[in-house]
């Protein structure tokens, strides 16, 4: 029962993250939404791996790897956002900018 709570929370987080990725024009918010999606998936995966009693070591190791890779991807994404703002003065993508 408790595992189901965490799994459904993870599922809701993935949905929330996907909504944020699609709906939010501000690019830093998109990086946050991307992290929510990843983190929700980890939670879902972790809960699924814990159904045998205790959380198995293999999902744990894969999730730790995932968390580190998510940070590297976020760092690159944030670097791109700052570079875009430096060159264009905006933090939204050009084709989503309502005031060109």
């Amino acid at each position: 029962m408790n595992l189901t709570v965490f799994a459904l929370t993870g599922a809701a987080l993935v949905g929330l993250g996907v909504y944020g990725l699609l709906a939010l024009p501000h690019l830093l918010r998109r990086v946050i939404a991307f992290n929510l999606t990843g983190s929700g998936l980890f939670l879902f995966f972790g809960a699924a791996g814990a159904r045998v009693g205790v959380l198995d070591a293999i999902p744990q190791a894969l999730i730790i790897t995932g968390i580190v890779v998510a940070l590297s991807a976020s760092a690159l994404a944030v670097g791109l956002v700052v570079a875009l703002a430096r060159s264009s003065g905006k933090v939204v993508l050009p084709d989503e900018d309502p005031s060109p």
Binding site: V18, L28, V54, A57, A61, S72
Partner: protein, 308 residues
């Protein structure tokens, strides 16, 4: 009783996540995201995954938080147009809702898992922490490639520097008042962080901890010392810096090749030397992880005197 605790925790997790996505103001969204990371870390502890809880608190909440806060500060200093024009779209809400519902359905449709029994093979791995055994022994390929992904991301971040700034010091210039809080923390926190980080790596062989968690704490120490201006930001061209970056993946790769030379499979460890081999690889990895993560967070080289 524990169900009530988990329900409350998950409600908090969803609440702060919602505030991070839908709340007003990007700065507030970043703060809520950091809070979110800490709540999720408690969730991992509730699931009994203490190694993941440490990684989430240190990397997910800590370093990602610093990264986002620093980016927000930079965007403000550049006076970028950060006004938000919000247009909540129905299609995005439908897509998010559909994916959440599909995952929820999948949870009830999934067959019960039959995990491989790590505990049985644990005595041959040389370490007592099953998570470390998986990371450094059973699935060493994943960890080797992960350390290379970190390097690739750092190269990508460095390439975002302008040509003229390539050999400038990395990251923005920090200003700490000599008698301010930051300067005080810069002197006070590093000794504690150093001991804790090294402890996490050492303890990770037998109990909770590991190279990634320990390396992240050490990266935090480097960041605090740089922000307090006690450590000068390095330049891309420094040979020592480059050596520290490739030390971990290099030692890992060499140990894998040594196994091939001894007639074993690539990256396999003989049980007789597994313990010492894992400790050496972890020590080298920790140094590279700490330096790489700290440099990922401070970002590309920047003109020391912007607006010249």
């Amino acid at each position: 009783m524990t169900l009530a605790l988990d329900l409350a925790l998950c409600a908090l997790i969803l609440g702060v996540a919602l505030a991070a996505v839908a709340g007003a103001g990007v700065f507030r969204a970043v703060i809520f995201f950091i809070t979110y990371g800490l709540f999720v870390a408690i969730g991992w502890a509730r699931l009994g995954a203490y190694d993941v809880a440490l990684a989430e608190a240190a990397i997910g909440a800590g370093l990602t938080g610093v990264l986002l806060l620093a980016a927000h500060g930079r965007l403000r200093r550049m006076q970028a147009d950060t006004t938000e024009r919000r247009s909540p779209t129905l299609s995005a809400a439908l897509a998010g809702g559909a994916i959440a519902l599909a995952l929820g359905w999948a949870w009830f449709a999934l067959p019960a898992p039959q995990p491989p029994d790590v505990a049985q093979a644990l005595p041959q791995t040389g370490v007592g922490n099953p998570v470390t055994a998986v990371l450094l022994n059973f699935r060493a390929w994943d960890t080797l490639l992960e350390s290379i992904v970190l390097l690739a991301a750092l190269l990508g971040v460095w390439m975002l520097a302008r040509d003229a700034d390539w050999n400038a010091p990395l990251g923005p210039r920090y200003h700490a008042r000599p008698d301010g809080v930051l300067a005080y923390f810069g002197r006070f926190l590093p000794p504690i962080g150093l001991s804790f980080g090294v402890y996490l790596v050492w303890a990770g062989a037998e109990s909770v901890g590991g190279a990634f968690q320990g390396g992240t704490v050490l990266a935090g120490v480097v960041l605090v010392a740089m922000m307090a201006q006690l450590l000068r930001p390095p330049r891309v061209s420094q040979a020592m810096l480059r050596a520290a970056l490739v030390l971990g993946p290099g030692v890992f790769l060499l140990s894998g090749l040594a196994a091939v030379g001894l007639g074993r499979e690539f990256l396999s460890l003989s049980p007789a030397i597994a313990k010492s081999a894992i400790l050496i690889i972890e020590a080298a990895l920790t140094i590279s992880i700490a330096v790489t993560l700290a440099l990922l967070v401070i970002g590309p080289a920047e003109d020391p005197e912007p607006g010249r």
